[in-house]
Symmetry: C2
Subunit: 338 residues, 2 copies
């Protein structure tokens, strides 16, 4: 971009026909500005390329960590990774749950503009283009940890190798002798869900198997999705001998479904989970799963956002850390082979 003279607050005020104090209020996310005025000022800020530089003297050493929703042991792993880095840098971590009805998005962004954190970490959450622009114009960098869909251009993300995870899980089942393998993934709208299913397809294609469409299920990542799809899949006439679940929580649901149908794991059914949450090691049987390095992903995203806050450009805008198959006791050769 060519150097242009920096837009000042006074110019913005002139252009919008408001006072300097009103512009300042909008920049700081203060609520006491009429909606229409705010929109006009934001528009000028965004289109004329205003960029706040430097930080106020008493620097706010905070980052905002935004979850789509709390409530899974999964989120604890993310928090620990963020906290590992933030605490050693003496940065406070402000926790938010976005998307819940109790926190309207505009209020959240106003609060963030007011507290001016060093940066924002989004976990499976999305901002509107306008919200992203609001943060960018205030020099508040954003990094996403995992993403729902294709992340917007220029948004740095840290994720994990979902396709490889799906491949490794399915290859493991294939090597044990399974061919009739079902998969339950997350929401089809999420890229990570589709990447894992593609890994599954590729592993089966390696041994010349094309799975029936009905063996491929999409749901959410919670217990109930695993349970419901598990019941259906295990009630099919040609019952699958193995199920690859999209999360450890889903895998617990599959285990419950199997138990209710009188099937023993791994004798009658092999189950592979995804995530490797600490609690899983203690289930019955201990779960074979694909480890996502959640804590490391969160730590890396935190390092990125803090270095961007210091003015560094992100070294790489899309990073996927390696996933790893962890074999425990929920997988075995299919019973025909016993």
């Amino acid at each position: 971009m060519a150097e242009t003279p920096q837009l000042t607050i006074a110019t913005i005020a002139d252009t919008a026909g408001v006072s300097i104090s009103t512009v300042s209020k909008v920049l700081n996310g203060r609520p006491d500005v009429a909606q229409e005025t705010r929109a006009r000022v934001e528009e000028i800020i965004a289109t004329r390329g205003y960029q706040r530089r430097g930080r106020r003297q008493a620097e706010t050493r905070l980052i905002d960590l935004v979850f789509h929703e709390l409530g899974s042991p999964w989120s604890v792993e993310i928090m620990r990774g963020v906290e590992d880095v933030a605490s050693s840098e003496r940065v406070g971590v402000v926790l938010s749950e976005a998307g819940g009805n109790h926190r309207p998005h505009q209020e959240w962004i106003d609060d963030v503009l007011q507290r001016r954190p060093l940066g924002v970490l989004l976990v499976l959450s999305e901002l509107t283009a306008i919200q992203r622009r609001q943060l960018e114009t205030r020099s508040i960098p954003i990094v996403a940890i995992d993403t729902l869909g294709e992340p917007p251009a220029g948004l740095p993300t840290v994720g994990s190798q979902n396709w490889n995870g799906g491949l490794a899980a399915t290859r493991h089942l294939v090597e044990l002798g399974h061919r009739n393998i079902a998969v339950i993934s997350g929401d089809k709208a999420m890229l990570c869900s589709r990447a894992r299913v593609d890994g599954y397809r590729t592993a089966l294609a390696e041994v010349g198997v094309t799975p029936e469409p009905d063996l491929i299920r999409y749901g959410n990542f919670f217990f109930e999705a695993g349970y419901d799809h598990g019941r259906e899949l295990l009630s099919r006439p040609e019952r699958p001998t193995a199920i690859f679940a999209g999360s450890d929580m889903q895998a617990l649901g599959v285990l419950r479904a199997a138990r209710e149908l009188g099937l023993s794991v791994p004798r009658d059914l092999s189950v592979v989970g995804y995530d490797d949450l600490p609690v899983i090691e203690w289930t019955d049987p201990p779960l074979t799963t694909v480890r996502q390095p959640l804590r490391e992903m969160a730590a890396m995203a935190t390092e990125m956002v803090l270095s961007m806050a210091k003015g560094a450009a992100p070294t790489n805008t899309r990073i996927d850390l390696a996933t790893e198959l962890v074999v425990r006791k929920s997988t075995a050769p299919p019973s025909e082979a016993w």
Copy 2:
């Protein structure tokens, strides 16, 4: 207390023989003050009764939530309760893990003094008397959620009825016909651990049973403690027919120990947990447990600290919410009775 003329920053500076700017730095937790100078100023602030009043104009709408350690699904429930209230009040929640080696206490308190939150919530964490005084002199209120030991006088706490929980769990087992009942509790230094064991003793005393000392175990609240004590208890010549565990995580450890010894739950052994974490409903068998209203406890503590921030005195400095027995599938009459 009698009204005394308010100590000013200038008087503190005079008394300590330092500049006003140095006193201001100490009040705001800024690091660039010599240790010896800081100690002298803190001493004058504390002994002469300095009390900062009002808040700086751009109010920091934050509260600090301090965990002894993250890493249990238990902590997610607490966070959700805090977030329920904080988000509706548009207050940001800053998460910290205290006690870890990576966050020296003095740095943490300096950071809190700098960011001047509306209040501090301590979860199973303790501050030194000096740290409490530092927060009090800056008018930053503190509320504890659960406490390790007897809380210091005047520190408002929100907990749950541990004695009643122990009583209800053990009465349930007694009513099923059990008499040889073991208990695994948390750290003996924690009041909640001892209260639960006392409830257990009382329920047994109601039917004229005095438990052998070896049946009463103390550990920590994690899986391994349940597993280790479970192995030992279940290897006794007079094997207990029921175990009341101090946490759901411990109960999972007992279930694992039972499985390894070839015992079926609930046929050969009844198990009661404590907490009622969401994940527990999905274990095999679903766990009978004592529900602690963690989310409600956290919400109430957050309301208390926010109303104290507005100047209200706490209505009650020690609140214990009710616990409740939730009967699922891990308890049954002892096998002699089958």
